[in-house]
Symmetry: none
Subunit: 204 residues, 4 copies
DNA sequence: CATGAATGAGGGTTCATTCAT
DNA sequence: TATGAATGAACCCTCATTCAT
């Protein structure tokens, strides 16, 4: 059983990307609302603005949609983080900036974060590994920032833990919003978390 | 979702509880392995040791099984935590003990934690609210411990945040095990997290 | 991906057989009318007298229905042939009897023969091989009858060819009925084919 | 199904024929490999060397492709047979030649024969009748050769049967190749079949 | 003439749930 | 109480066919 099906008869790569973005956008909206499993491919097609047949010209399986969604989210986060980090001149200031940006980003893409958090496990082995790899990259970036910006000596292990903490504190803002948003504005949340992180790293 | 969960057809309350516990145990094992959505009621019945017909004598819908599972998990955590907290004599020591116990507990019931974390959203509105209520209780307990045990003045808001942080750091140990267990033993994890938490609370 | 699905929850073997026979009967009627590919599983279920869900309690895939059909047909032919052949006392008379019986059988189960002839290729590799094996058995039986009943010396090769010829002449009666039935009654067909076969084997 | 097969949109008859021949060739290759039903129009278009849109400029439905294929095969056989038959000087020699040629032809176009044999039933009523008509013609030719070449008196009925036998013996060589080719070379097959046919017709 | 993106009816299959025994 | 056969809504996906460019 080879893949000799003539699938996606579509040739135009620009169109493929455009359509896939429509799909991703529609899927995020729906997954957010009812989760991956309760969302049907027909709904995704409809929300994407085309027929079920057309949907399947641009994706192979429903699962691929989830992968596309996860991939696109991490890609986004990754790029934004990378663009902010100043690899040349590490400083406490830039450390704070990065963490703050990360928190703001998590706030901005709350829905996407929730989806990722809850649905990655629905990905098949390979896809999941691929996505988690990207996550690891992100944490490495945070870790690097910590190690290089903090004046006090921080072991790799400690930096690892702190990076992981920051990582999930960011996610928590989106993921546990019903618990947190009632008590904190985004500004307060960032300030307080930063306050304790700085303390932990012996800054100021 | 409260007492009306009890089937009308079935009388013997002892039996109900016994059967439901069989179901919960089977379901946890299955959900852990393949998730809620990919587990079938037939499988749960089989693993529970009785027929599909019998299964439906003790639960009304598949979703109710998930509720039962979530409820039982939180109940467990809640009880263990409550039993440990010394409401009479708050001290730094008891603070540490509670946090440590919580982390150890999360380690012990890793699989259950993962299930909860990923599947609560599959619960219907009412059930989800009920479960999250329990979660809020837990965090309140942590918050109370912080406020009453820490000598330094900590505002309610700060305590709230720290409680939330502890809460998810515990879950993270189970939830992100593929990332953390490679780098930390449980002891190291507890020690390091405690180290930074103490620092945050100006202890020692 | 193992077969750990809990399929056919049905335990009663007698029932399974009964239901499968219903399915086979319904399928034969439908395949005869519109062929395997144009027949839907829903139609088969309906003609079988139960719902689509029930159908799938007794078969795994649509293809399995085709296999069941093919298998049952050959089984039938095989048994009838075997019951007729007198392995103890080979004689010209018994040779004639066997051939005649075979032709009459082919007449009796015309529809089934047509199905087999046209649809075996739709079976998957393994199933097809299994079915063709049964066909080979049948031809072997015919060959054995020829070799042991005909007085004149007939080489194995010639017997093989004659057996194959008889085999398809029988099938042809069902398969090319639109061409033959207009010109021959079954009796005439049998007589004339037998006439030439006897000639070929130097009998009389 | 006759001249109205020609699309109205398309004018140039030479081009039509050229394209249809491309289609037929591609279709035969594909049908041989996976059968009519499992072959998609997209695959046929691709193998034909043009787009799916263009394919539909030259055929109206997928079924028509099957018709074209069947028609072309019979046309071929018909022409080859007709060219060989010496209608002027019937002789035993020419009888043998015709039969031999027919067997060789069946060997040559084995794949096509298999396709026809298995897929004619997928044709719609009208098309099927049209194709079977051609088959009848072929058998008539064989019958005519038998009647006119064989010295012994053979009734029309007997000739009819013999013609049918020859016809399917030829097809059998292609159709049951897995059974026959292991035991016979083409030469042996022809010789042996001829041997028995001659015997049947009292020749030599 | 040629293209290929778009369509959607329809097919195979699953599985939560019921109910007669 | 326990059972498991029966149900059918609903899901994912395919592919013949059309039509604007």
């Amino acid at each position: 059983m080879t893949d000799d099906h003539i699938r996606s008869t579509t040739k135009d790569n620009g169109l493929i990307e455009k359509r896939q973005n429509q799909i991703i956008k529609a899927a995020i909206a729906l997954f957010k609302e009812k989760g991956f499993h309760k969302t049907t491919t027909r709904e995704i097609a409809q929300k994407s603005g085309f027929s079920i047949g057309t949907l399947y010209e641009y994706i192979r399986t429903k699962e691929e949609i989830l992968f596309l969604v996860c991939d696109s989210i991490y890609e986004q986060v990754h790029q934004r983080l990378e663009a902010t980090i100043d690899f040349k001149q590490p400083s406490i200031e830039s450390l704070k900036t990065v963490i703050e940006l990360y928190f703001r980003l998590m706030d901005e893409i709350q829905d996407e974060v929730v989806i990722m958090y809850q649905e990655v496990k629905s990905l098949e082995e390979d896809d999941r590994r691929y996505v988690l790899e990207k996550e690891r990259d992100m944490i490495s970036m945070l870790k690097w920032v910590i190690v290089s910006c903090v004046p006090a000596k921080i072991t790799a292990k400690h930096a690892e833990l702190l990076a992981n903490n920051i990582f999930i504190q960011g996610q928590m803002w989106g993921f546990r919003r019903w618990a947190l948003h009632k008590q904190f504005t985004l500004e307060e949340y960032i300030d307080t978390q930063l306050f304790y992180l700085m303390k932990a790293m012996d800054i100021e």
